[in-house]
């Protein structure tokens, strides 16, 4: 039997970037309907959906759409200016702390 798995796209049900796995099975091993573009063949058993067969072009289009939407939702990083970098460093670096006990007593009792 010829099977092959490839990581294709994120899996929606996890809500996090977990790759969606495409499992390839030789056409000699199973009997499947001949899908046509734009049509989804829903395979059911005991009244429950078991699988959906798509034409490869539709599957690829869905992958591309998902990737496109994910790319559109990705945040564009901010380019930090020299001033912003300097502000971050200087305001995040301690200066000369007040440690004189007399001054501290005057300030805080």
């Amino acid at each position: 039997m010829s099977t092959h798995s490839a990581k294709v796209v994120r899996h929606w049900c996890y809500g996090i970037p977990v790759p969606f796995t495409a499992k390839k099975i030789s056409g000699n091993e199973v009997r499947v309907p001949d899908p046509v573009p734009g049509e989804a063949a829903v395979i059911s058993r005991y009244g429950k959906e078991r699988a959906i067969v798509l034409h490869p072009a539709d599957f690829n289009r869905l992958n591309e759409l998902e990737q496109l939407v994910a790319a559109a939702a990705a945040l564009e990083p901010i380019a930090l200016s020299e001033e912003a970098i300097r502000a971050h460093v200087e305001e995040g670096t301690p200066g000369e702390p007040i440690t004189d006990p007399a001054v501290l007593a005057e300030l805080f009792g």
């Binding site: 939702a73 901010i78 502000a87 971050h88 305001e91 995040g92």
Partner: protein
Amino acid sequence: MHPPLGHCYWAVAPFAPTAPFRMYQEGAAPKDVASAESFTEAARKGMSEFVLLTSVKTRPVLVITGVLPEHEEVLALRLRRLEKLATDAARGLVRDGKDEALFYLQPERFPGLPVENAAIVTSLMRLPLSAIDRRTSLGSLNENEVRVLHERVARAHELKLDVMIVEKARRLLETAQSGTAQPARRRPRT
């Protein structure tokens, strides 16, 4: 804005400890520890908690979240006085909102700040409420400014929100298709 979200307050803001670390010792002068690796080695021996001498600065901060009710904490940003920027051109860029990492605080809405300031978008810090003097708000952002600032913080830190956004859009689409739109539930915040 519902305080403290979007408001500016005086706070006791710590500087993050960096190497060499100044460690407090009972009855002795502070001990300098050169690197974080020494702490890791100590932790492997089962000793992981110490007292470091950390500098703090009393300064205005801009609170950018509500209070986490479970922890009594907020996230806040440090401020930068515009007079500290090197050139008039740099100040102009900040005032015009063109320097995305320095968020301009409109002086008319921050009457408690004596000079023009900008929030440093990359200076995110967690502050307990007890470190913030909330008696007087020095001024506040409006709701739209808070949204813009949140977006800039997320972008500056390159937070990976794409899947969340796409998933939310998908759920909204499903809800719209099923005709059972319901308002999102929100955790109460103070």
